[in-house]
């Protein structure tokens, strides 16, 4: 049988290190050995098929039981492509976020900010044939965390994506343009080079805005792409 086309090696500077001293929780959790590099096999080149039939889409986080959540309503949309610029169709996109006051609908979140009964903060959408996704939500608030430094995380939405190869699996975070907390955030600042950080910031997009209804932010996401050359034994 023909070997699967390998994934491109990770581009230098594009990904965070696992050992990130400024983010205290990495101290005992990052492996001390580098990962073992291996060829792309069928296992990594294949991926689960996530279908709306088994994984129900939920694309409007701004309403619960017909009641509107507090906060700035916004549409978040973008394209999912691979490193070769090709759209990733049928990708499952999972999102979760804090409410407008910076509180998660989560039992372990002890932040003393109000819960909003009309906001749960999790959603699931799928990309179309062009790799496009879209959902409606409210702008999350910043929230405190226990890490050396100012101790507040910038406003962000957590994203989880499954592409068409298991090696494309990505969990990331979307940030907002102009957020002054970005300059102090260990997680954002540790993401890689300047271009890597820039890719994590959404753009305010007038084309996505709906007059009298919602703000619009564009967040394009790139998953790993296949290489043209075979795996090189390092």
């Amino acid at each position: 049988m023909v070997d699967p086309i390998p994934f491109r090696p990770v581009a230098p500077g594009s990904q965070p290190p696992l050992d990130l001293p400024s983010y205290r929780s990495t101290a005992h959790r990052h492996p001390s050995q580098p990962p073992l590099r291996m060829p792309t096999t069928l296992t990594e080149a294949s991926a689960p098929s996530f279908t709306p039939a088994w994984y129900a889409p939920h694309d409007d986080l701004s309403v619960v039981d017909g009641k509107q959540a507090l906060g700035e309503r916004m549409i978040v949309a973008g394209r999912v492509t691979d490193e070769n610029g090709r759209p990733v169709a049928g990708a499952m996109v999972e999102v979760w976020q804090a409410n407008a006051a910076g509180r998660y609908h989560h039992a372990r979140d002890q932040h003393d900010a109000p819960l909003d009964p009309n906001f749960h903060g999790e959603g699931r959408v799928f990309t179309d044939a062009e790799g496009r996704y879209s959902f409606t939500t409210i702008k999350p608030g910043a929230y405190p965390w226990r890490n050396p430094g100012p101790g507040w995380r910038p406003q962000h939405i957590h994203f989880g994506l499954h592409g068409n190869g298991f090696a494309q699996r990505l969990i990331t975070q979307m940030y907002f343009p102009g957020d002054p907390l970005l300059a102090f955030d260990a997680i954002f600042q540790g993401s890689g080079d300047d271009a890597a950080k820039r890719r994590l910031i959404a753009d305010l997009d007038p084309e996505l805005m709906r007059p009298d209804w919602a703000l619009g932010y564009r967040f394009d996401i790139v998953l790993r792409g296949r290489a043209a050359t075979p795996f090189e034994n390092a």
């Binding site: 049988m1 070997d3 994934f7 491109r8 990770v10 594009s14 965070p16 696992l18 990130l20 983010y23 929780s25 005992h28 959790r29 990052h30 492996p31 001390s32 050995q33 990962p35 073992l36 590099r37 291996m38 060829p39 792309t40 096999t41 069928l42 296992t43 990594e44 689960p48 098929s49 996530f50 088994w54 492509t81 490193e83 610029g85 979760w96 804090a98 998660y104 989560h106 979140d109 749960h120 957590h158 989880g160 298991f166 699996r169 990505l170 969990i171 990331t172 975070q173 997680i187 540790g190 993401s191 890689g192 890597a196 890719r199 994590l200 996401i221 790139v222 998953l223 790993r224 792409g225």
Partner: protein, 179 residues
């Protein structure tokens, strides 16, 4: 070429996308209800470099079907949160051997990916099955230093019960893989 978007930690609140039923790939109302094969459990404990259990990890499972195919007839995906004791446990069917690079054969294996607070990206590893004669020929295991191979091999703990503990850092550190 635009490099891939940077990975970020899943943080402590990823449970908002946790659906505990997904740890059972054979659940009666799921995509594999009634699928034929050898039913197994794969369980383990995740610990960190200080020896503390990791009680807030997301473990994702990906595997071939009992014939070793990824054609999708069997939905080989699961997700499980570790509990307060750092434990995860999946219920699934034992996968078959999978074609490997060249004319090689990969011994039956399950891919596990770990996400958590304190992990800036997911850690990928494999669970092979102790006692399988095909382990000796596996092209991926062959790349792993012999003294660390055991971190990728689940041990039987009962009829159809397999266990693989994961050590994120330090003595007995699990071998993590990247393509």
């Amino acid at each position: 070429m635009t490099p891939a978007t940077a990975s970020q930690t899943a943080g402590p609140y990823w449970h908002m996308i946790d659906f505990p039923a997904w740890a059972d790939l054979l659940r009666a109302d799921g995509p594999n209800a009634g699928a034929a094969g050898e039913r197994i459990t794969l369980a383990g404990v995740i610990t960190d470099g200080a020896g503390a259990v990791v009680p807030d990890a997301m473990v994702e499972l990906w595997q071939a079907d009992p014939k070793g195919s990824y054609d999708g007839a069997f939905h080989g995906f699961g997700r499980c949160a570790t509990d307060a004791q750092g434990r995860f446990c999946f219920m699934t069917l034992k996968p078959g051997a999978v074609p490997g690079p060249g004319n090689s054969t990969q011994a039956p294996h399950i891919t596990l990916t770990i996400f958590a607070r304190g992990l800036m990206s997911g850690l990928v590893t494999r669970a092979y099955f102790a006692g399988d004669a095909r382990l000796a020929e596996d092209p991926i295991l062959a790349r792993v230093p012999e003294m660390r191979r055991g971190t990728l091999i689940a041990k039987p703990t009962g009829q159809g019960e397999w266990r693989l503990d994961i050590r994120l850092q330090g003595e007995g550190e699990t071998v993590f893989l990247t393509v």
